[in-house]
């Protein structure tokens, strides 16, 4: 379980998070939703120790994020931030290979190579494995970064807007893959999503945030209701049921 206890955060004088206390349950796919500027990414980045914790405590599977050594945390959780364009010229196989680095620290074994091949295959990157990062499309590069986090093979997988740049089919395949990890391999996943229906279709647990506070949390069908969502996004939103899952109608 990821425990978040009394976490506050400021950037300069601007408060980003106000005294957040919540948890991400183990063995579940948790989605963080909310309008722009709600603090979802900041919260995920604090959990993934990409930002130093200013106030409060966070622990991941019992490991306190601010006191556990970063190399030990890398074997407990993998975090993928939002990608900014990086000019590094790595082949996709090499990039995904670095996902194993926390385990082998420079001496890859046959097992590591097998996991890398598996991750490449899982994200349909095997035919592109020898291409350089700057020779593939934005969506393909994004998939390679996700595959790297996937190859890291940790109990926790945290992804900040992983659907960016992905087309419908790849977005769906990714969500399916993540649910697979949760259902069949006992992993736990936390992700920030903007397209609410991906949360509606695949998430077990939803945390809704607005202006640095949590406004609702719980099972997907409890949180993704007309009342909560209309209030959250300050827009009239209809929710219907489709194949037993909530379906959010917000485009008209």
């Amino acid at each position: 379980m990821i425990r978040i206890d009394g976490v506050g955060h400021r950037i300069g004088n601007a408060p980003i998070l106000h005294d957040i206390t919540t948890h991400l349950p183990e063995g579940r796919l948790t989605a963080l939703i909310g309008p722009n500027g709600a603090g979802k990414s900041t919260l995920l980045r604090l959990v993934g120790r990409l930002e130093p914790l200013q106030q409060g405590r966070i622990s991941v599977g019992g490991h306190d994020v601010s006191t556990t050594r970063t190399e030990d945390l890398a074997r407990v959780m993998a975090i993928l931030g939002q990608q900014n364009s990086i000019a590094s010229r790595l082949r996709l196989s090499e990039l995904v290979g670095f996902g194993r680095w926390p385990h082998h620290r420079g001496r890859p074994t046959a097992h590591d190579h097998a996991r890398v091949a598996e991750a490449l295959e899982a994200f349909a990157l095997t035919p592109l494995a020898h291409r350089f990062l700057d020779e593939v499309s934005g969506g393909q590069a994004q998939r390679a970064h996700i595959a790297m986090a996937f190859a890291q093979d940790t109990d926790w997988l945290l992804l900040d807007e992983p659907l960016n740049n992905l087309d419908m089919a790849h977005a769906r395949a990714l969500m399916g893959r993540l649910r697979d990890l949760v259902r069949h391999q006992g992993r736990s996943v936390g992700l920030v999503v903007h397209e609410i229906n991906y949360a509606a279709a695949w998430a077990d647990h939803v945390i809704a945030m607005k202006e640095g506070r949590i406004v609702a949390q719980g099972d997907a069908h409890e949180v993704l209701t007309e009342a909560v969502l209309s209030d959250l996004y300050e827009a009239p939103i209809a929710v219907v049921s489709h194949q037993g899952r909530p379906l959010v109608l917000h485009h008209v």
């Binding site: 993934g48 120790r49 990409l50 050594r69 970063t70 190399e71 030990d72 945390l73 890398a74 074997r75 993998a78 975090i79 993928l80 931030g81 900014n84 364009s85 990086i86 000019a87 590094s88 010229r89 790595l90 082949r91 090499e94 990039l95 670095f98 996902g99 680095w101 926390p102 420079g106 350089f132 700057d134 020779e135 970064h145 790297m148 986090a149 890291q152």
Partner: protein, 317 residues
């Protein structure tokens, strides 16, 4: 890897040629029968040849590191304030303690080079990431400012000639046995970087990815700074700054082989050695038995190579 053996053969062949040319004509075949030949080889030709190879290899590796640390391909140890920093350190110790032992001068040059390179990186980290061209411009401005400080102090203290040998005329004609050995330290520092190659490759992917993979970015940054500073300081004090190697060689290798530094660093080192060796040989042959400084030849060849690289740059660089 086909590149490595080809480069190694080219380097070996050029080193052999380098042993035979110079003002005194020497026949390698008689090395063991003629003591005078042996003397020339061991005291002058071999040291010079090794100095050229070590300088080229170490500066190229330093170039890769500084480019990974600032995530920009348009910088090198000669445009990041590093060489000027080393000169500043040498100048300071020469003025403060003229009789200081050699090792202390080296430490002073290295520490000062590290400080100015750290300043460069601190400036770069405050620039917007997307402004790719600001990084080399900031480097040139910083180098220019530091260079003028060095020149001013040198002018005030009558040490301009020293500064000239450090910063402007990188060349190897003065290298004899006993006056180049510091370059082995530069070579050793570059070798040290190879052991941490994965770490530098990961740092090149951004702080975010590096942290996610459990890499302490500060430690890698410090190691990179130390290697770049030590390499540059040793080169500046022994043969003077050699331009462009640390800029062009990493770019050429990355274009062909990518940035998996564990695989590419040996190729980078060999290519750097080959390039500087070729320029030194050219400088020795053009107006034989006189010499054109290798730094000058590299200035011409390097800038042409750089223009070619810029021109051929793919859209996604």
């Amino acid at each position: 890897m086909r590149a490595t053996p080809a480069l190694a053969v080219a380097l070996a062949a050029m080193m052999l040629v380098s042993m035979t040319i110079g003002a005194a004509s020497v026949d390698l075949g008689h090395a063991f029968s003629d003591p005078r030949t042996m003397l020339v080889l061991l005291e002058s030709r071999l040291p010079r040849t090794l100095a050229v190879a070590l300088t080229g290899a170490a500066l190229s590796v330093a170039g890769v590191l500084i480019q990974a640390l600032v995530r920009n391909r348009f910088v090198g140890p000669d445009t990041a304030g590093t060489a000027e920093g080393a000169a500043l350190g040498l100048l300071a110790i020469t003025i403060l303690w003229p009789a200081s032992p050699l090792w202390l001068r080296m430490v002073s040059a290295s520490v000062s080079a590290m400080a100015t390179t750290a300043l460069f990186i601190a400036i770069i980290r405050r620039l917007p990431v997307r402004e790719v061209m600001l990084v080399p411009i900031a480097g040139l401005v910083l180098s220019g400012v530091l260079g003028s400080v060095v020149t001013f102090i040198g002018w005030q203290t009558d040490l301009i000639q020293y500064i000239g040998t450090w910063l402007f005329s990188g060349e190897f004609s003065g290298v004899i046995s006993g006056r180049y050995e510091l370059l082995w330290i530069a070579g050793g520092a570059a070798l040290l970087a190879w052991f941490a190659a994965d770490r530098f490759a990961i740092i090149g992917l951004g702080d975010q990815v590096a942290t996610g993979l459990g890499l302490g970015t500060r430690g890698v940054l410090r190691l990179g700074l130390a290697v770049v500073a030590v390499v540059t300081a040793m080169v500046v004090t022994t043969v003077g700054m050699i331009p462009f190697v640390g800029l062009v060689v990493p770019n050429m290798v990355a274009r062909i082989m990518g940035d998996n530094l564990r695989r590419t660093l040996p190729v980078v080192a060999l290519s750097g050695a080959v390039l500087v060796m070729a320029c030194d040989l050219a400088g020795r042959l053009i107006i034989h038995p006189y010499e054109v400084p290798a730094g000058l030849v590299l200035g011409v060849v390097g800038s042409l190579l750089f223009l070619w690289l810029l021109h051929r740059r793919p859209a996604h660089g």
